[in-house]
C-alpha cells in the first residue's frame, strides 16, 4: 500500500461519514459490535438503575395511576423525537436525543426506564443499535446522560443561573456525555496496541467529535426554545 491508498481510504472514510448520516450520526453502538464480555458487563451495570427506575415508577403509580399512561405517551414522544430530523448548523440533519429534556421533566430514574424501552424499539423497529449492545447504549444514553443533565440543571438552579442557561447546559452536557461515554465504551472494548485505552479513547472521541459537537450545541439551543414554548403553554 502506498500513500495513495491511504488517501483513497481516507476519502472513502469521509464519504461514508457524510453519505450515511442517518446511522453514522446516531451514537448507538450497532448490534454485535461489542465483544461478549463487554456486552454482559454494561448490561449488568445498567440493571440496578433500571430496577431503581421501575421501583420509583411503581411507587408513584400506586398513588397516581395516570402517571403510567403519561410515561407511556412520553416514551412514544421520545421515540418520535429521536427519529426527527434536526436542523443543524453544519447543514446536515440528525437526531436529537431528548435526554436533557426528559431528565428535567421526568427525573433521571424514570428516564432510564423510558430510555431502555425507546432504545429497544429503535433497535427492533429502526435497526438503530441492537439487542446485544442494549446494555451499553442504555448506560450512555439513558443512565449517564440523564443523570448528568439532571444534576447540571439542579446545580444551575442552585447557583442562580438564568433558567435558559441551566437548560442549555443540561441539554448540551447531557448530549456531550452520551458521546464521551460511547467513545469510552468502544475504547475499552478495543484498546490500541500502543497506548492502550487512552489512545483508543482519543481515536474514537476525535472521529465522532466532527458530528457530535455541533449536534450537542443544536440540541442545547433546541431544548431551550422548546422549554420556553412549553412555559408559554
Amino acid at each position: 500500500m502506498n500513500r495513495y491508498t491511504i488517501l483513497i481510504l481516507t476519502g472513502l472514510f469521509a464519504l461514508i461519514l457524510f453519505s450515511v448520516p442517518e446511522y453514522a450520526f446516531a451514537m448507538h453502538i450497532m448490534e454485535g459490535f461489542l465483544p461478549a464480555k463487554w456486552s454482559i458487563f454494561w448490561s449488568v451495570l445498567t440493571i440496578p438503575f433500571l430496577v431503581m427506575g421501575l421501583r420509583t415508577i411503581k411507587k408513584k403509580v400506586e398513588d397516581n395511576p395516570s402517571l403510567k399512561l403519561l410515561l407511556g405517551v412520553a416514551g412514544a414522544f421520545a421515540f418520535i423525537l429521536s427519529a426527527l430530523k434536526l436542523p443543524s448548523v453544519t447543514g446536515s440533519c440528525s437526531h436529537p436525543t431528548g435526554v436533557g429534556l426528559g431528565a428535567i421533566l421526568f427525573g433521571p430514574t424514570a428516564m432510564t426506564v423510558i430510555g431502555v424501552i425507546v432504545l429497544l424499539f429503535q433497535a427492533i423497529l429502526l435497526a438503530h443499535g441492537g439487542i446485544t449492545t442494549l446494555g451499553a447504549n442504555t448506560f450512555s444514553m439513558a443512565v449517564a446522560g440523564p443523570f448528568v443533565a439532571y444534576w447540571i440543571y439542579k446545580l444551575g438552579k442552585k447557583l442562580g443561573l438564568p433558567a435558559w442557561l441551566s437548560v442549555f447546559l443540561a441539554a448540551f452536557f447531557g448530549d456531550l456525555l452520551t458521546y464521551v461515554v460511547t467513545s469510552l465504551q468502544l475504547a475499552i472494548a478495543f484498546p490500541a496496541a500502543q497506548g492502550g485505552i487512552a489512545t483508543s479513547v482519543i481515536k474514537f472521541l476525535s472521529v465522532f467529535a466532527v458530528t457530535q459537537l455541533p449536534l450537542a450545541v443544536s440540541e442545547g439551543i433546541l431544548t431551550v426554545i422548546v422549554f420556553n414554548f412549553l412555559k408559554s403553554y
Partner: protein
Amino acid sequence: MLNIDQLAYANRLRYVHPVEKFIFSIVTMGLCLAFTSIHLYAAVVVLMGFGVLALARIPWQVYLRLMLLPVGFLFIGVLTVIISVGGTGYDWIYRWDLGPLSLGIRHTDLVLGLNIFGKALAAVSCLYFLSLTTPMVEMISVLKRLRVPALFIELMGLVYRFIFVLMETAQKIHTSQSSRCGYATLAISYRSTSQLISSLFAKSFQRSAMLFTALTARGYTGDLQVLEPEFNYSKRNIGMIVLIELGLLFTALMFGGSVL
C-alpha cells in the same frame, strides 16, 4: 419510516410461534457473540438471509437496504479500530510516517477488524430475522413469558401504541407547517422544529390525560391486564432449530472457533 413494523405483520412466517422465532434468533446471535469464526459468521448471514428472503418472503430490495443501514457505523468503527497511531517495532502492514508520529495498519488489528465486521454483520442479520418476522405485539408477549416485570411490559405496550398515534400527529403538524412555508431557511427551520416539538409535547400530555379518562371508564385502577394471543408450538420447527444450532456450534468449533 417504520417499514420493518409493516413487514412484520405481513410476512410468511407471521403465524409461526413467536417463542420459536425468538429462541432461534437469540441463540444464534449468542453463538456469534461467543465465538470468533469467520466461517460461523458467513454461515449465519447466509442462513438468516435464506430465512428472511425465502421463508418470510421479504422483498430483497428492502432487505438489502436494511443490511446497508448499519454500514456507516460499521465502517467508521472498524476503521477506527484498524488504523493505529504509534511508534516502530510492530507488525505493520503499512505505515505512514508523519514526523515523530506514524499512522498505519497492523496485521493483528486488521484481523480483529475483519472479525468485528463479520460478527456485527452476522448479529445484525439475526436481529433482522427476528424483527422482520415477529410483530412487536408478539415480541412483547414473549418478554412477558420470560418474566420481564409487568410494569415494563405495560409501558412497552403503551409506548408502542402511541408511537403511531403521535407519529401521525407529528406528520400532520409538519405538513401544516410546510404548507405555510415553514422550514424555508435555517432560522425558520429551528423555529418550526421547536414549535413542532413543543406542540407535540403539549398534545402528548393532553392525550395521556384523555387516555386516562377513557381507561378509567373501563375500570382502570393501575394495572393494564390483557389477554395473551395464542399460538401452537410446532415439534417440527423446534427440531429444526435444535439441529441448526448444533450445526452452527459444530461449524464454530471446527473452523478456528475461539471463545472470546
